[in-house]
Symmetry: none
Subunit: 208 residues, 4 copies
């Protein structure tokens, strides 16, 4: 169900034993999504995970660490996937379309993860670095695509690239945001193509 479980690497080491690390992480995300990070307690997470409070501290340094671990783990994974999908495209437009599609797809898979990603990421102080990393990576991916598009001649050359990055990321982010705020009830993935169309129009060369 969860990405890290489907990845199925370290989880099945000792077959019968549940992987407590991921068990707790999963529970934490559920609780954070429900209450927000600061209004969640370690006890709630423990109860949700079905372990004792103290057990949490065998796997995580402290409460903050749970969120940090979530991001480092999750981000690596998600971005890996983003990159793969981008590679599968040839033209800049294909690449952008693949990126957005993949992004929405991944987030749609797990509303709780999405909720935490959208809402809690920027709250923790020692998380800023992580968050900045994320934006930077995302921004750089978009930047690469746009530059390729300019080379291909399908995107205007007079673009202020720094702005374009925010423009595209912002649009995607808000689409997810709205979806999350409304409880993740409708189909998010179907927004991908119309959204890319808008963006491409925004930065594409005008028809002659």
């Amino acid at each position: 169900m969860f990405l890290w479980v489907t990845s199925g690497e370290g989880a099945i080491n000792k077959n019968r034993k549940v992987d407590k690390y991921h068990l707790i992480l999963e529970a934490a995300i559920v609780v954070f999504a429900r209450n927000g990070f600061f209004q969640s307690t370690v006890s709630q997470i423990a109860r949700e995970a079905g372990v004792a409070d103290g057990t949490i501290y065998l796997y995580f340094k402290n409460k903050d660490d749970i969120l940090v671990e979530f991001f480092t783990y999750k981000i690596k994974q998600v971005f890996e996937r983003f990159r793969e999908k981008i590679e599968e495209g040839d033209t800049a437009e294909e690449k952008l379309r693949n990126l957005v599609t993949c992004h929405l797809e991944e987030f749609q898979k797990d509303v709780n993860m999405a909720q935490v990603f959208q809402m809690e990421a920027r709250q923790i102080r020692h998380m800023e670095d992580h968050t900045k990393q994320i934006s930077k990576m995302y921004f750089s991916m978009i930047g690469d695509i746009v530059e390729q598009g300019q080379d291909e001649g399908c995107m205007r050359k007079d673009l202020y690239i720094g702005l374009v990055k925010r423009y595209i990321f912002g649009a995607i982010d808000e689409v997810i945001n709205t979806w999350v705020v409304n409880g993740g009830k409708y189909d998010l993935l179907s927004m991908a193509d119309p959204l890319v169309d808008l963006c491409i129009n925004g930065i594409g060369v005008k028809a002659p």
Copy 2:
């Protein structure tokens, strides 16, 4: 400096007396911007405002209330201004341009306010309503503009308006966000025109 001060109604009644309500509100925003809402303490706010802890509670029901008051007060004011500026434009494009310009301008005036607006709004549980209200109002303003644009013939008729709203708002929001995260150091206002250009291109009719 602050919007509510420029409104200058009840604040300057007895001019020797400092308006403690706004003094505290101002201090709170500074502290919230620095630490985030949950990591800010009432004592910090009191110290920043130069008053005793207890004084806070003469003007606000509790800590949450400070943020709530900030939003109710601020939002009304900012949105009033947004609407005025929109009215000053004739064509849809002018209106959109005025809205974005005004938005960036208002937020550039006060980094702390911007920080809190961008980061803390969604955190407080009883604030969700407020936040939803804001998005709705903003979305509806954009919606009106786009519909006018469609009537004028300068915007495509096959747009999925719900998506367009998120696309435009998301782009604006992210531009502010990036600015805030980077400490509000560069000129935000200069982003307005290039940003509007991108959006207009995105939804505009293609040149024949």
Copy 3:
């Protein structure tokens, strides 16, 4: 309405001016009766009295002092009356009857006073002395009556007087108590004679 007002000595000094001391005392008793001493705030008393918080401290040393003043003032007055009524009787039985009647009568006049007397008297630490004083005075009055009764031959000689005092006072006190707890709604005075009958029977000589 209140005893100290009906006594009408110092209250009408400056005709138009309300006597703040008694105004506040009166308000305090109302508030204490409603909330109990510890759950009443000085602000509530001030509001009830229609004066500013600070004004309280022009007439009373502190919150405790209000209760202390109430008791010293009230007790002196009430006990004065008790003594007068006792004097009006000739036989021990008449005296006891007068005492009980007067006691119930005085308390019925002012439920709030009664409430505070019954409930709050023993709460304040520096009030213990006062309370003990009261019991002692009351006990000694009863003691005198009983001794007279023994001399008259209408009360048994083998009574343990210390116990008889508690027995009589306890009965009276509980009758008032029940009345207060039930909101002071029924006629308290009508209990006087039946109650005295019971007590007299308890300590009286058996019919030959």
Copy 4:
């Protein structure tokens, strides 16, 4: 020493482990008896019990709850005993004598409990119900005894029973009260018989 310990059910399960619930309750009663409920702090109770402040809240909802728990627990137990003792008597007089004896005995066992019972019961607002319950139960027990006495012919038929209840309960209560106020130093139990004699005389039929 304490009633709930003598009941000896769940308290001695793991005999190395001290029963914190009762430990805290016991400490609380000591502190309440010393300072009164409102002037006692949770910290004082914790110190008296030899636990950390926070530990209190593992066993009690809040400060009020400590008193409430004390009453619900204690009252049930004490009244159970009262009823047993009453049952052991045959005639109304025996029953009354047993009740009073038992009452004084139980209270003499634990001055602190007695102190709290006599002084604090009526203070807490959400305790009123409990207190009223107590009086009602006690009153009804007395009522039953008196009615039996009337059937037996040893008590007058023209009694106002509602008043008799207060008369008897008041007398007992005041005897305990005086004892408590004087620090529980003398023998309370020895008052039982003389006190009952007085009451019986009060309501009994006159010798022919």
